[in-house]
């Protein structure tokens, strides 16, 4: 790291965020399947339980935003549970007998980063 000349005040934090944020999208093989926010969260809890058992299912995380129409959500999870949550999303294959998959669109330790993703820029 290098620093510019002195400012009036400076604070520098390494790993300042206790959380990681994930923008995800749930896709079903068949159309027309809907979930409300509570059902969506329960689906994630059961995904954690399936892979990591009861201890995994107790991992605290938040569904900060959820769009019922597009099945897109922003999740917040503590850093120590980030890999567990992401791997649970990866391994989830079905909901009530319907085949589905999670797409992880973006991850960041900064929530502000999730509001601007240049990889989503489409110009055609």
């Amino acid at each position: 790291m290098e620093f510019e000349e002195s400012w009036s005040q400076r604070i520098m934090r390494i790993d300042p965020s206790d959380y990681h944020y994930m923008k995800v999208c749930l896709e079903f093989e068949e159309h027309g399947i809907g979930l409300n926010a509570a059902q969506f969260k329960q689906l994630l809890v059961s995904a954690l339980q399936e892979l990591f058992g009861e201890v995994g299912a107790a991992l605290p995380f938040d569904v900060l935003t959820y769009e019922e129409k597009t099945l897109k959500a922003i999740l917040r999870v503590c850093n120590s549970g980030f890999v567990k949550l992401w791997s649970s999303l990866t391994m989830l294959g079905s909901y009530k007998g319907n085949k589905c998959a999670f797409r992880v669109i973006q991850v960041s330790p900064f929530l502000l980063a999730l509001s601007g993703n240049s990889r989503e820029l489409v110009l055609d």
């Binding site: 400076r10 790993d15 922003i74 991850v107 929530l111 980063a113």
Partner: protein, 340 residues
């Protein structure tokens, strides 16, 4: 076990926050903005404001255009005509994987983020130096590499700070290629009542129980821009997120976002206009201006290499107070220099 532990770790990230004033005789804020070249999104938030102020309306719609050129060969960038018309001074910086680097036959250096076994290399071509001597070995080798040895073609985004030449030069210069003009996308929204952290410019780190600091403000801003509900109870099943404490209630706020390929000169202009928003008394105690870089650009600031681990984030944010003090925050992910 060590491998497992490493796999469970989250990549390192940095947040640097500094404080200064627009009355400082050294305009460091301008230099900072002008040396961030690849800007994808700019957004500003004005508390206690319902509509886009008229002094900003014209500027917000004039931040473009930018251009997309498809399948453009790299050798077009080293022609004297291109350099003399558009570049004046500058460098062509390539971030290449190992195989492509070896195939080009050009001189470069390993990426500083590639670890013990270098899998990524950086090639930097000084365009001014090349254009001064077209008979030099360097020019001939670069030209041979781009035209014959490894003719690389990419889709490019162009944005050009025109200091006087004909307006449609980029369109006419690349008329032999597929070139499209684009305008930045502007979106604005009036936000209703929302909680916001209590800030004071002198206390960038906050004051426990009295004031929030810059890191809390940064996270709150992310929540506002992503439209996160901030009125949750601790026992709520779906989300427990709430506004940092201590907080106050805003009656309204205006959030405007512009996305595209945005020039640092235009962002500087926007910063100056936002700073002068407080020339007349306003209810808002402060406002913010955030800028997101492109996640995959080879450089983020000056010529500093921009690596990315997962996110590629490189964001800076100004908090402009009504007394002309400002906070400047820089947030970067792993494999980036944090230099404030």
């Amino acid at each position: 076990m060590a491998t497992l532990r490493r796999l469970r770790e989250t990549p390192q990230h940095f947040l640097s926050c500094v404080m200064s004033s627009f009355h400082d005789p050294r305009p460091r804020h301008r230099h900072f903005v002008e040396t961030h070249y690849y800007n994808y999104k700019v957004s500003f938030l004005i508390p206690e404001c319902a509509l886009l102020p008229k002094e900003l309306k014209s500027l917000v719609t004039e931040l473009g255009p930018y251009y997309l050129v498809k399948n453009l060969p790299l050798h077009e960038f080293i022609t004297p005509e291109f350099i003399n018309t558009f570049v004046k001074k500058g460098k062509l910086i390539l971030s290449l994987d190992k195989d492509t680097y070896e195939e080009t036959g050009l001189e470069g250096h390993p990426s500083k983020y590639s670890g013990r076994k270098s899998m990524r290399f950086i090639v930097s071509v000084d365009l001014m130096e090349l254009s001064f001597n077209l008979n030099s070995k360097k020019y001939k080798r670069t030209s041979w590499s781009f035209k014959e040895k490894k003719p690389l073609k990419f889709n490019f985004l162009f944005a050009w700070h025109n200091t006087g030449a004909a307006e449609s030069s980029l369109m006419s210069y690349f008329s032999n290629y597929h070139i499209q003009e684009h305008q930045p996308r502007v979106s604005g929204s009036s936000l209703g009542e929302l909680p916001c952290p209590v800030l004071q410019s002198d206390y960038i780190a906050g004051l426990p129980g009295v004031l929030c600091g810059a890191p809390e403000l940064f996270e709150w801003l992310g929540a506002v821009c992503s439209n996160v509900d901030q009125n949750n109870e601790p026992h709520n099943f779906i989300s427990t997120y709430c506004c940092p404490q201590p907080n106050t209630a805003l009656a309204k706020a205006y959030l405007c976002s512009i996305t595209g390929f945005l020039l640092p000169e235009k962002i500087c202009l926007l910063l100056e206009r936002l700073r002068h928003y407080f020339d007349e008394p306003k209810l808002a105690p402060w406002l913010t201006l955030s800028v997101h870089s492109f996640a995959d650009s080879p450089v983020a600031w000056r010529e500093k290499e921009h690596g990315f681990h997962k996110g590629g984030e490189h964001i800076y944010n100004f908090v402009i107070f009504n007394n002309q003090d400002y906070w400047l925050q820089l947030a970067v992910g792993a494999n980036d220099d944090c230099f404030l």
